[in-house]
Amino acid sequence: MNNNGDITMQLDHALSPRGATIPLEVNDPVFTLDDVSVFYGDYEAIRNVTLPIGKNEITAFIGPSGCGKSTLLRSFNRMNDLIIGSHLKGVVAYHGTDIYGPDVDPIEVRRKVGMVFQKPNVFPKSIYENVAYGPKVNGAKGNLDDVVEECLTRAALWNEVKDDLKKSAYALSGGQQQRLVIARCIAVKPEVILMDEPCASLDPIATAKIEDLMVELANDYTIVIVTHNMQQAARVSDRTAFFTAELDDNEVRHGRLVEFGRTRELFSSPGDSRTEDYISGRFG
């Protein structure tokens, strides 16, 4: 039984289209994933991903629901640690340091690698306090007015809220809340911003604003975005990774990286038929 499993694993590995999964070289990678698999208990949400994330680039993760792309995103800042029973195999290297190494403090990782979620999760505090939260928990003392103004300006929200900083963040619209979350995220001065379907709950106009903001922010930050919106991936990202969920020889469902490349090339001439089917809307 065990032997069988091993053999199938090896076969699976050998048979997988290595040409498609061998990642493109990127200049100056911030993250390098080497053979990463993430498990929830016994369930392997995503299997054997090898992938670099380029500095000051926007990398988009696309693929059908259940392909493990959000799970993979959450492994970049160890958010999966918060889910009981999750564990990771392989190496997630941040500037050459394995962030799952024994001496690594996940809190320090999260200060360098911020995250924006699908639902705008503003805190039940004022707009000002939302932005000031990160610097405060990271030990900032004294007046944070300048930080708050700078971050809200960078998040293209300052002009809309500058007279209402003391108001509850819940008074803002969904799109404004999501920009507030981005302002709150950059107030911690991260190097990388992870975005998990940041526009999924927004209308097209708010989405367009967030997309403009992402492109603008990519000058200073490295961004990894999970999206179900292929046009969004095509519009904003420099590189795209396409994932899918498939059954292995033991009929076990798991997520796989199918193809990774420059967005333009991946969308115009996909190297794998599954990618082509997905981006042309034939499944997913």
Partner: protein
């Protein structure tokens, strides 16, 4: 030209109610009656308190009642100054709250933010068992165990019946109320807020203190208020452990009588119906009713204000 929308002569298609729905009406009446019973009871209690209270205040001036410092209703020439009962209630309630709020809130933070789900599954029901212990048991525990085996060694001058033991044990009795309701409030905080806090590099403590508790504050305040109301209204523990001696004092080492324990003690005696002593029970009951009523109104306002601020 107008469209011919309604055809008066149309036949065959009937959209009228085909049969009467008596069941709907019956259910509505039954449910209304269920809600009505509690309202009627409240008003009934209020009226039954009000009439003897008014009769009481015809004989004893209300200023003597509210500001008098001696409570000796059973003496021939009795005095009806309620301050000793009020001070007893306040001292014991304050002690109880000083125990119950930190421990209850601490337990709820632990259960909601720190405990693994396995620990929580065991701990929360165990804690709630505490709420099911009859208060008379708590009363004897305070008198026989806490006072005579523990407190007497720490405070050699302590009286056998004392406010401290009653307050401490009452606090322990209230812990599950506060812990359980606060935990419910914290568990209801969307996990997205926790994720947001952790993603900004918060520690567990920072997430709990700066995000989860503020978000759950209205529920936590409601839990506190319910706990305080239980402390003010609690009767058995104080009757057994704090004695029946009305004393205007804030010294917790001596015996005290609370408003509730006066009502219990006098009500179970053989006072003649219609006597001034008998009516005094209702006057004290009225004061108790007003105090808890004002506190509930205050807390509803407080909760509403937090809700406005946070939603």
């Amino acid at each position: 030209m107008a469209l011919n929308t309604v055809d008066e002569t149309a036949e065959g298609l009937s959209l009228r109610q085909s049969h009467p729905r008596y069941g709907e009406k019956v259910i509505r009446i039954i449910l209304f009656a269920a809600a009505f019973v509690s309202i009627v009871t409240t008003f009934g209690i209020l009226i039954s308190l009000l009439i003897p209270s008014i009769e009481f205040f015809l004989e004893v001036p209300i200023t003597d009642f509210l500001f008098g410092t001696t409570w000796t209703p059973l003496f021939n020439d009795g005095e009806f100054g309620v301050l000793p009962l009020l001070s007893g209630t306040i001292v014991i309630t304050v002690i109880a709250i000083a125990v119950a709020i930190p421990l209850g809130l601490g337990a709820s933070i632990y259960l909601s933010e720190y405990a693994s789900s396995r620990v929580r599954k065991v701990l929360k029901p165990t804690l709630e068992v505490l709420a099911g212990i009859p208060t008379v048991v708590f009363g004897f525990f305070a008198l026989e165990f806490l006072t005579q085996l523990v407190l007497i060694k720490i405070f050699p001058g302590i009286e056998v019946f004392n406010a401290l033991s009653a307050g401490l044990i009452m606090g322990i009795m209230i812990i599950p109320t506060i812990a359980s309701l606060s935990e419910d409030a914290m568990a209801a905080v969307p996990s997205g807020l926790r994720d947001g806090a952790y993603a900004l590099g918060s520690t567990k403590r920072q997430t709990a203190m700066k995000v989860v508790i503020p978000a759950a504050l209205s529920g936590i305040v409601a839990a506190f208020v319910l706990g305080i109301s239980r402390a003010i209204g609690e009767t058995m523990i104080v009757t057994i452990a704090a004695g029946l001696q009305p004393q205007l004092s804030f010294n917790p080492l001596i015996g005290m009588q609370t408003m509730t324990s006066y009502i219990a003690a006098a009500g179970s005696g053989d006072l003649a119906t219609g006597s001034i002593e008998y009516k005094s029970i209702f006057a004290v009951g009225m004061l108790l009713f007003i105090l808890t009523f004002v506190m509930n109104i205050f807390s509803i306002r407080l909760v509403r204000r937090f809700r406005q601020a946070y939603q």
